[in-house]
């Protein structure tokens, strides 16, 4: 592994710094700092993401039953993931070790609606402009508007896939935003027969469009393997949740990890014991922690999560079209794990197809219209809830006092799990495309393409107008600014 680049000399006097820095964001921004040596070779890369301050403070001291609703405000992109992970953790506080079939399936439907809409947004809005036009194409065209102009049908399908996922969330969570569907111990609503019928009539179209999306990204890989297989590629461990039988399950299961060659590191681990498995390392230059498998240490124990990890971590996918696509993915990789950064997009679309098929199957299940919504049992003080959010594994861990107030909260979000992996991906890309003399638009975008593959969660910050531009600054070893570029 390439851990040695994590530490620059304390005296970096001969290094030149290239900073890619958003302007004026209070928090929630990504900032890339590239340290070059005296020969203008990349020596070190640091990806700074600073949005995670204050999560625990925001939650501690609140009544536990408020938590599933309030944690949605941590993230504008994945509110449902936080809602469900918190609910799963707090199920244990109220003694609901197993929720009712109706509650389980309503939550699953909500979750797969979230996966569908988030993956559609990621692919069609964020990634497809790069992939369809090329990383070096005109920047003014390389966006969703450019896609809408040249490929209006693709753009419209992307928007309608996302809209459908949002509708699934609205009906299962009760509202379009700030839903309250899941509560500690179960859910507070089920679906009527008419609601299921309305959703079901469009589900087949969503499956068809998801299949088309997989084919788009698969063909791109096959047409240009030199780029897709090697851009930002690096070896690492994988971690994700699987069903007890080893199949892909994004809502509930056990933890499994594989090494870079695909050999099992651990399997069938109850996530209630995650703190014995994972250590979160603090580094002085970043607000975000760096988790690693404790048994392997920080140098060798870091890992990837998210679609690329999940699709290769599982033994099968329990829906037919997605399983067919998984097998093609595995065959393309040649029997060993695929570590290419751009393969995240392919895996993401396989998962979107899995979500669409799962939504269709769930909608045909009468348990969704059941009336047994809640269960409870012996009160406990502590609970851990884990879910596979769109970007990767999400941990919520709470302790609750006898007064029902949360005394401890620990969250590990997918962007944190992927922290070291993202740093490494950006470094690999910078090594390939940065010559240290000028910040070109192409250079900036290649780095951004690597970041986009992970789409680190920045939405925990604000989105006020004027708070999302990028600033690119080139500073020499003496601190003199050599070049600066803005991207608004």
């Amino acid at each position: 592994m390439s851990f040695e680049l994590e530490t620059a000399p304390a005296d970096a006097g001969t290094l030149r710094r290239v900073a890619i820095d958003p302007v004026s964001r209070v928090e929630g921004h990504g900032k890339v700092t590239i340290l070059l040596d005296e020969h203008n070779k990349v020596h070190q890369v640091r990806l700074h993401i600073v949005e995670f301050r204050g999560f625990e403070r925001f939650i501690q001291g609140r009544p536990y039953w408020e938590v599933p609703v309030m944690v949605q405000r941590l993230c504008g992109i994945c509110p449902v993931s936080h809602h469900l992970a918190a609910s799963k953790a707090l199920d244990l506080i109220v003694g609901a070790t197993r929720v009712t079939p109706t509650a389980d399936k309503m939550r699953r439907l909500m979750h797969y609606g979230q996966i569908l809409q988030s993956h559609a947004l990621h692919f069609f809005h964020l990634s497809s402009p790069d992939l369809l036009f090329g990383f070096d194409s005109e920047v003014g065209r390389r966006n969703i508007v450019g896609v809408a102009e040249k490929y209006p049908e693709i753009a419209k399908k992307g928007i309608l896939l996302r809209k459908y996922g949002q509708e699934v969330i609205r009906l299962t969570a009760g509202k379009r935003v700030h839903g309250t569907g899941a509560v500690p111990g179960g859910v507070n609503r089920s679906l009527s027969a008419d609601e299921r019928k309305d959703l079901l009539k469009d589900a087949y179209q969503m499956i068809a469009w998801s299949r088309e999306a997989v084919h788009i990204i698969k063909e791109l890989h096959q047409q240009n393997p030199a780029l897709y297989d090697h851009f930002g590629s690096f070896r690492s461990n994988f971690m994700g949740m699987v069903a007890p039988d080893g199949s892909l399950d994004l809502y509930h299961g056990v933890l499994r990890a594989k090494d870079a060659d695909g050999s099992i590191l651990f399997d069938q681990v109850d996530y209630q014991t995650y703190d014995r498995l994972i250590t979160e390392e603090v580094k002085p230059w970043s607000y975000m922690k760096f988790p690693y498998f404790t048994a392997m240490g920080p140098e060798h124990g870091w890992y990837k999560v998210g679609p690329l990890a999940r699709v290769q971590n599982c033994d099968s996918i329990p829906t037919p079209f997605a399983e067919h696509e998984r097998l093609e993915f595995v065959a393309y990789a040649g029997g060993k794990p695929l570590h290419a950064t751009l393969a995240y997009h392919w895996a993401r679309m396989v998962e979107m197809l899995f979500a669409a098929e799962t939504i269709k199957e769930l909608l045909q299940d009468d348990d969704l219209s059941g009336t047994e919504l809640m269960t409870s049992g012996e009160r406990r003080r502590e609970g851990v809830g884990v879910i596979e959010a769109p970007r990767g594994t999400l941990f919520h861990h709470y302790q609750v006092g006898d007064d029902d107030l949360v005394t401890m909260a620990n969250l590990i979000v997918s962007t944190t799990h992927n922290n070291q992996a993202m740093n490494t991906a950006v470094r690999e890309v910078a090594r390939q495309y940065l010559d240290g003399k000028e910040i070109t638009e192409g250079l900036l975008n290649h780095i951004e393409v690597a970041i986009r593959a992970y789409d680190p969660c920045l939405s925990c910050a604000t989105h006020a107008l004027g708070k999302m531009p990028l600033e690119v600054t080139l500073v020499d070893a003496e601190g003199t600014e050599l070049d600066r570029k803005y991207k608004a």
């Binding site: 504008g76 003014g140 753009a155 928007i159 991207k487």
Partner: protein, 147 residues
């Protein structure tokens, strides 16, 4: 039937002055005006282009770190923008997406940017922002009354 006027505000209610957009929408909704639909979300996203269909006028509302206090209003036109994240899209880009996807001109749209000052998680809206919000709501009565 689609209401001819749409008021769409976005922001995170738990992020200090980022709540200005949703708070503005709450205030307009309380006016119970016929022909006016109010929508809100955490973020503006591409699918919101579909909410423009069939409208005669649209008012987008967001908090702004840069707008002159207490607020600014401008007529906006379709435009492209670029982002390195799924976490931001401009209202101008929403209009452009609408035009391309629906193959028709976007309805007349305005952007109301209410000046905010603080954005911390868990923080309330600032006193200054609340003053700015009151001024924006007062202004909106005239805009909403226009045919």
């Amino acid at each position: 039937m689609t209401a001819p006027v749409l008021v769409f505000g976005w922001g995170n209610p738990s992020r200090g002055d980022d709540a200005l957009g949703p708070l503005f929408v709450d205030a307009v909704e309380a006016m119970k005006l016929p022909g006016v639909e109010c929508l809100t979300d955490f973020q503006l996203q591409v699918e919101h282009a579909l909410d423009l269909k069939g409208r005669e006028r649209v008012l987008f509302v967001d908090a702004s770190a840069d707008a002159a206090a207490p607020f600014t209003v401008e007529r906006i036109e379709p435009a492209r923008d670029a982002s390195f994240t799924t976490h931001a899209v401009s209202p101008q880009a929403i209009l452009q997406v609408f035009r391309e996807v629906e193959a028709e001109p976007a309805p007349p749209c305005w952007l109301l940017a209410i000046r905010g000052e603080g954005w911390e998680l868990g923080a309330p809206t600032s006193a200054t922002a609340r003053e700015n919000l009151r001024a924006a709501i007062a202004w909106s009565r005239t805009w909403l009354a226009q045919g």
